[in-house]
């Protein structure tokens, strides 16, 4: 970076103020920044604490194995929501991973010119588009024409949501494989296809898997697009062409209901969601650790 970009301070150091006061105010300033950082971390811990305490009161075996039950009947669970979420997220991952990795290959190895620049730009921008807008897109594309809510449409919205993460992480994963490895493979007479799929991708695999896991973490717990795609269900529904129960949606609906017993269910569901998302994030980071230490 260019040193001349630095603007000179408008005033020189305030020489009228004694050094003691300046030292003191410096210590105070540093203290305030530390306070802000601690406050931010503390907020995280407080939220975690509430979810853990409130959520653990709702958890029991029935919570994981039973269907939701009406108000006033104890022992209802969110089994269908857990399974529904797993199915929806699974389908989304199956759609987004191959496409995302292929686009990552394109950006890292073949990209030239306007198409590459626009793909990169759009991937960045897409990651900031509100999930509810993407839910509306899935609705307009897959729900409205068929007049039928479905887990497929939710999976499509999820796939679009996780795509930017997979694209950018697999791009940088593939780009960080040394050029010489690719050149060596090509020089040995391997076709471009084989060099990519059998040499470069295996070398980049851990980082790509990290990207996919982060993508899954991004959509697990995502609620807004589900409202008008998967819609939710009170029953066991395993056919992705039909409306399906989703854990995040159950948490939302239980939370805004007027019943205390349902609020407890909401906290329980929230605990499951947060544990799942944190676990995904931790595994994703752990995969990259041994690489970095090398």
């Amino acid at each position: 970076m260019n040193v001349t970009t630095l603007a000179m301070p408008e005033r020189t150091a305030p020489h009228k103020t004694s050094i003691h006061i300046r030292r003191l105010s410096s210590a105070f300033g540093v203290f305030i920044t530390g306070l802000c950082a601690s406050a931010a971390a503390l907020a995280m811990l407080i939220i975690l604490f509430y979810v853990a305490v409130q959520g653990s009161q709702a958890l029991n075996v029935g919570f994981f194995t039973h269907l939701p039950r009406p108000v006033g009947i104890d022992g209802g669970g969110v089994a269908n929501g857990i399974v529904g979420s797993a199915i929806t997220v699974g389908i989304a991952t199956l759609i987004a991973t191959p496409v995302g990795v292929l686009i990552g290959i394109f950006l890292a190895l073949f990209a030239r010119g306007a198409l590459a620049e626009s793909v990169r730009f759009l991937a960045d921008v897409l990651s900031g588009i509100p999930s509810i807008a993407i839910g509306l897109f899935a609705y307009a594309l897959l729900v409205a024409p068929l007049h039928h809510f479905s887990a497929i449409s939710a999976a499509f919205a999820f796939a679009v949501l996780m795509m930017p993460i997979i694209i950018r992480t697999s791009e940088s994963a593939i780009a960080s494989v040394p050029r010489t490895i690719r050149e060596g493979a090509l020089a040995l007479g391997l076709s471009s296809y084989r060099a990519t799929m059998h040499v470069i991708i295996p070398a980049a695999r851990p980082a790509i898997i990290t990207g996919v896991l982060l993508g899954i973490a991004r959509i697990t717990g995502e609620t807004a697009p589900l409202l008008f795609t998967a819609f939710g269900s009170e029953f066991w529904e395993l056919n992705p062409k039909n409306p399906m129960a989703e854990l995040a949606l159950q948490v939302f609906n239980y939370a805004i209901s007027p019943y205390d017993s349902w609020h407890r269910q909401a906290w329980g569901g929230a605990l499951i969601l947060i544990v799942a998302v944190f676990a995904l994030n931790l595994i994703a980071r752990a995969i990259l650790l041994p690489r970095r230490q090398r």
């Binding site: 530390g34 073949f110 793909v119 998302v277």
Partner: protein, 311 residues
């Protein structure tokens, strides 16, 4: 049987062409997908665009019963709640970033950064749940009355305190965007050349003076980019805002008053929209959100690109 070299080369060439076709095809499909997203939203909101025109943006009636749809109260709620969020998260986040990059010893900075970044992983619905059952009651019995006691002379803090409302939503949104502001600002500040700090310290400036007069001014563009990126998140945030903002399409001066955002109207009313024009108006809100967040993110990307270009 061993194929002749020539046949193998031909086969490899054919495979490569198919492979390249698939690779370029996926990239092209991706661009088409975003275009389709825009086209679908425009098509869906066409009826509303035709009916209300640009007046949609500054009419303050949102009344499904009379089929009057004006987005002004929703735009108001979105802008004010996002502004509160940016204000709070901006101050705390930038200062925290300064601490994490320059002042804190490594052993403290790393775990703190890790915990703060976990905030980004918490699902939106969990923030909403916490906001609804912990923050909102606290706002009603403690924070709200206190603010009213101190600042009650201002219309911003007057009126009844429901617990849910603009301020509560702003605080929840601030928590949600805090990790974005902190992490990016920290990286931007850490990318400022060490020479500048050393020069400033050598001239006799204290740590704090160096941060405030040398490092932060040099990091201005990147930090601004981080704030814009965070703004994009706050504007489009749906579920958490829906749960704590009170969901009433009115414009009130008080920050304690319930309000509504673009995204939360869609979340609440979409499946209940009975008429075509209602559905179309909701889709137009989605289109609005899409365009606004597209511009915000494009802008943020441009700024980040300016900052990290050299690396």
């Amino acid at each position: 049987m061993i194929l002749s070299l020539r046949k193998r080369a031909e086969r490899a060439h054919r495979n490569d062409r198919v492979f390249l076709g698939i690779v370029y095809g996926s990239a092209g499909t991706f661009v088409l997908l975003i275009l389709a997203l825009l086209v679908q939203l425009i098509l869906g909101s066409w009826q509303s665009i035709r009916t209300f025109g640009f007046a949609f943006l500054w009419t303050s009636q949102w009344n499904p019963v009379t089929s009057q749809f004006g987005a002004l109260p929703l735009i108001f709620g979105t802008v004010v709640s996002s502004f509160i969020a940016i204000l709070l998260a901006g101050i705390v986040g930038i200062l925290a970033a300064a601490f994490l990059s320059d002042f804190a010893p490594r052993e403290i900075a790393r775990p703190l950064s890790f915990i703060i970044e976990l905030l980004a992983a918490v699902p939106s619905v969990v923030y909403g749940l916490w906001g609804l059952f912990v923050l909102a009651p606290l706002m009603r019995v403690a924070i709200g009355p206190f603010l009213q006691h101190v600042l009650g002379w201002s219309p911003l803090f007057s009126g009844p305190i429901y617990g849910v409302g603009l301020l509560t939503a702003g605080i929840i949104l601030a928590l949600m965007i805090l990790p974005t502001v902190t992490a990016i600002s920290r990286d931007v500040i850490a990318a400022i050349p060490q020479d500048l700090r050393e020069a400033s310290m050598a001239l006799g400036a204290t740590k704090w003076e160096t941060m405030r007069r040398v490092v932060l001014p040099a990091a201005k563009t990147g930090i601004f980019g981080a704030l814009i990126l965070a703004l994009g998140r706050a504007v489009g945030e749906t579920i958490a805002a829906t749960m704590v903002i009170g969901n009433r399409p009115e414009i009130a001066a008080s920050l304690f008053a319930p309000s509504y955002t673009l995204a939360s109207v869609i979340a609440n009313e979409f499946t209940e929209a009975t008429t075509d024009v209602y559905l179309s108006a909701l889709l137009e809100l989605g289109l609005l959100l899409f365009i606004v967040s597209f511009i915000i993110n494009a802008l943020a990307r441009l700024m980040m690109w300016t900052v990290f270009r050299g690396r």
